[in-house]
Symmetry: C2
Subunit: 139 residues, 2 copies
């Protein structure tokens, strides 16, 4: 087992690191937000598309977020529901009707995300300019 020492050290370092990440609430939030579709669903339900926050049906979301697969939409919706950020309401009409909407908690998160969006709008052209300069001097 002496040959495992290096690998074990690696594994332990990784375990410690994972524990650190696991304890860190910001990291968890970031992981959620970094899911490709989470923010877009938040934006859709938050009213970024038509002005006012409102409930939406599964198929509406699917249409609005062109490019999302059923799998990812369902997965995203489930994750957000699990976290209490959106609520799911099923109405037992003949073809079932399911509506999703932002909870107050989800709304508050969306508010914070909009702050990020504001930063992006204010500073993203600076970033892009830097990028262009950097790329030019690299060539």
């Amino acid at each position: 087992m002496a040959t495992m020492t290096a690998a074990q050290k690696k594994a332990q370092a990784k375990a410690e690191y994972d524990a650190f990440l696991d304890v860190c609430p910001s990291r968890k939030l970031l992981d959620r937000l970094s899911d490709k579709w989470v923010v877009l669903v938040l934006a859709a339900l938050g009213g970024d598309c038509d002005g006012t926050p409102q409930g939406m049906r599964y198929s509406e979301l699917s249409r609005l977020l062109a490019g999302v697969s059923q799998k990812m939409l369902t997965q995203t919706l489930r994750a957000l529901e699990r976290d209490g950020l959106i609520s799911r309401t099923a109405t037992p009409t003949v073809p079932v009707t399911v509506t999703y909407e932002l909870t107050p908690l989800g709304g508050s998160l969306y508010g914070t995300v909009r702050a990020l969006k504001a930063w992006a709008q204010d500073h993203m052209d600076d970033v892009l300019a830097h990028r262009a300069t950097y790329d030019a001097s690299e060539a």
Copy 2:
């Protein structure tokens, strides 16, 4: 080629979607932030580890962010430098000395990110509680 119609439609939808993402500055920012190490590097240089923002050497970062591979650290550093969020200073001493520090732009981004962190600290236990409730009713 008639058999390609469906695939073509998909491809076109994807292209349109990509174009949408490409135009959206918030999305770009989110993509950057969602890189596992970006925020941690920002935090390290922003002074989250010892109180005051300061420059750090490559090897210091590497030690501080236990678990990061050389590849990812370099990649992350390059990306942030390219975007003008951090600056790289090489001092031609005998073994080269390279220092990284936050630019004003990087500092302002880090400030915004701290707002997210604040949300996480304020609301993450709510989220966790919802998660527990959800999981319990699922079983």
